[in-house]
């Protein structure tokens, strides 16, 4: 048997090794993509349209589709999510039957694999409601998918607002809705913005439910009823046809754009978190 000291040393080494492995994998993924892709991310690549063959292929239509998708999804899901969170924290009696039902449903929604959302979205929004493969169908599907994230994060932000704010508001004779609007929501704002940024990340990152509902047409969508290909779907399609060097370069460049976007979103979240932490103390 090993002595206790050797055991300790072994376990300590194992934790350091594990953390190193985690970091190395992250660095490897990020570095491999950036080092192969960064030089191909030119202004031209970002702003020109996709031509499939030749050197001039860009990702502008995919950027437009992704932005459409993010904006539309958030404008559907954010109000509903925030209002649900307000209902759960400010109105509903904690532990009542209806709260239990709502919470159960939100938790279940969070557990459904995203491909099932795609399956559902394709039959319900695309076919049954007749929206066709469109940004709108994709956004509606993703709205349900990100709803749990928005509700939970907003709820936490609302619950972190001190009770005295509410009491103060009511003591001054403010109505409930006025107190929520003028006192509770503003002080929960950093948390709500974090929820929104998290959702932006989710919408940008999803691919399976998106290509089943929004399709993969490479044109710039002219309206929300047009089909569009988002950046992640584009990267997926590119990897299905990696034949020439040009296609490899495009795939690396697209992956680079995605990673840079994620880095950027993480940075904003961090900035909000630190600024808010400084303010409150």
């Amino acid at each position: 048997m090993l002595t206790r000291k050797t055991q300790d040393k072994f376990l300590l080494a194992a934790t350091w090794a594990a953390a190193t492995v985690t970091i190395l994998f992250l660095l490897w993924v990020v570095w491999h993509v950036l080092s192969n892709g960064l030089s191909f991310v030119t202004w031209e690549f970002i702003t020109s349209s996709y031509t499939r063959i030749g050197e001039a292929s860009g990702i502008w239509p995919m950027i437009v589709s992704t932005v459409y998708m993010v904006v539309l999804t958030l404008s559907i899901a954010t109000p509903i999510g925030i209002m649900t969170a307000i209902y759960l924290t400010e109105y509903a009696k904690p532990g009542s039957k209806i709260v239990q039902v709502i919470r159960f449903c939100i938790e279940s929604l969070a557990g459904i694999p995203s491909i099932v959302y795609g399956l559902f979205g394709m039959t319900f929004f695309v076919t049954t409601l007749g929206l066709g493969f469109s940004i709108l169908a994709g956004s509606l599907t993703l709205s349900i998918l990100i709803l749990p994230v928005i509700i939970r994060t907003t709820e936490e932000a609302l619950m972190a607002v001190p009770m005295s704010y509410r009491e103060g508001g009511y003591a001054l004779g403010s109505s409930k809705i006025y107190t929520i609007w003028r006192l509770i929501l503003p002080s929960a704002m950093p948390g709500i913005i974090t929820a929104i940024i998290l959702s932006i990340g989710r919408v940008i990152g999803e691919s399976a439910p998106v290509f089943l509902t929004a399709g993969m047409v490479t044109k710039i969508p002219e309206s929300v009823l047009d089909s569009g290909r988002t950046l992640t779907v584009h990267l997926y399609k590119l990897t299905q046809e990696l034949f020439s060097q040009n296609e490899w370069d495009q795939a690396y460049a697209t992956a680079t754009v995605l990673i840079v976007l994620v880095l950027f979103l993480n940075l904003i979240t961090k900035l909000i978190a630190t600024r808010y932490a400084k303010k409150s103390y």
Binding site: W16, V33, I115, S175
Partner: protein
């Protein structure tokens, strides 16, 4: 709101005046309706899943569909190879990923110097944010060719490649939740162990980890859910042959991949069979959630 205008102080009961606060009522109703959107969404999804999937079960038979070996739409709809592939890749990812994640969580919660933890933690969060297609792409260009070379096989698109990619992808989930549950333990646990003369490492591994067991199990269960539900990265690295895999070095198609690959052109009973695939996938998720619920019920000490 204009309390100042009211000349006389009012009693508490008289404050809600007869002028009913219509705006307040309107918003109250609006908030309730919003909260019910989630309920209706879930109901619609479940209803669609079952009404679309049941015809396939009815036509092929539940046992033939779940345990059938052959997927030859529109004639045969056996999804057992996909069940095996999903379970193999998920269990493999857990075996490879969870030890690394757990040790990293211990490192972050207990052993790392503050400055180092402040670098590793954001890195883990970043790992969580990277889109799954990027992991799939990485797997395709690095892991798949590496498997071809190491095992000297013609195509590296195998279950093994899927396991490695999924193992990386579940790291952030398992690390973050395990770390949180380790940090949530009252400090007296460790202080007590140290006071009894146990070493720092001994008290972490023999006192703290057992104490945080339920949180760690929840973390693992959520990792399993992520691995089981992952679609695009798996499609990109696992080869997608709908045949029964014989070993880890065979290509395979998971339940999620089966849906994603064929849904865009499937019609009739074929589409219904894909819904049935979704139902089977959901059954696994429900079982997993029941496990999480059971773990957390037991946690209520």
């Amino acid at each position: 709101m204009n309390i100042g205008n009211k000349s006389l102080p009012q009693t508490a009961q008289s404050i809600p005046t007869k002028k009913r606060d219509w705006i307040g009522i309107f918003f109250h109703i609006l908030f309730i309706c919003s909260a019910l959107v989630g309920v209706f969404s879930l109901a619609t999804i479940v209803w669609f899943l079952f009404s679309e999937g049941l015809p396939a079960f009815r036509q092929a038979g539940v046992l033939d569909l779940v345990f059938g070996d052959l997927w030859l739409p529109p004639a045969l709809f056996g999804i057992f190879p996909m069940i095996v592939a999903s379970l193999a890749s998920t269990i493999g990812a857990v075996i490879v990923g969870v030890p690394v994640a757990l040790f990293t969580a211990v490192f972050l919660a207990e052993l790392a110097p503050q400055w180092l933890a402040n670098i590793v933690r954001p890195a883990v969060e970043l790992l969580a944010g990277i889109p799954s297609v990027v992991y799939g792409f990485f797997g395709l260009v690095i892991i798949v060719p590496a498997i071809e070379v190491i095992f000297n096989i013609p195509a590296g698109n195998t279950i093994l490649a899927g396991i490695i990619v999924l193992a990386i992808m579940i790291l952030p989930t398992v690390i973050t939740i395990s770390e949180t549950s380790l940090r949530a333990l009252p400090p007296v646990y460790k202080e007590g162990a140290l006071a009894l003369g146990a070493s720092n490492i001994y008290s972490i591994f023999k006192v703290l980890i057992p104490a945080a067991k339920s949180g760690i199990l929840t973390a693992i269960a959520l990792g399993v859910a992520r691995a089981l539900g992952e679609t695009m990265a798996i499609i990109m690295v696992m080869g997608n042959a709908p045949a029964m895999p014989g070993s880890l070095l065979d290509p395979a198609r998971t339940l999620t991949a089966n849906i994603a690959m064929e849904m865009s052109y499937a019609t009739g009973i074929h589409a219904s069979a894909l819904y049935a695939t979704g139902i089977v996938l959901l059954v696994f998720i429900v079982i997993l959630n029941a496990v999480i619920l059971y773990i957390n019920k037991k946690r209520a000490y």
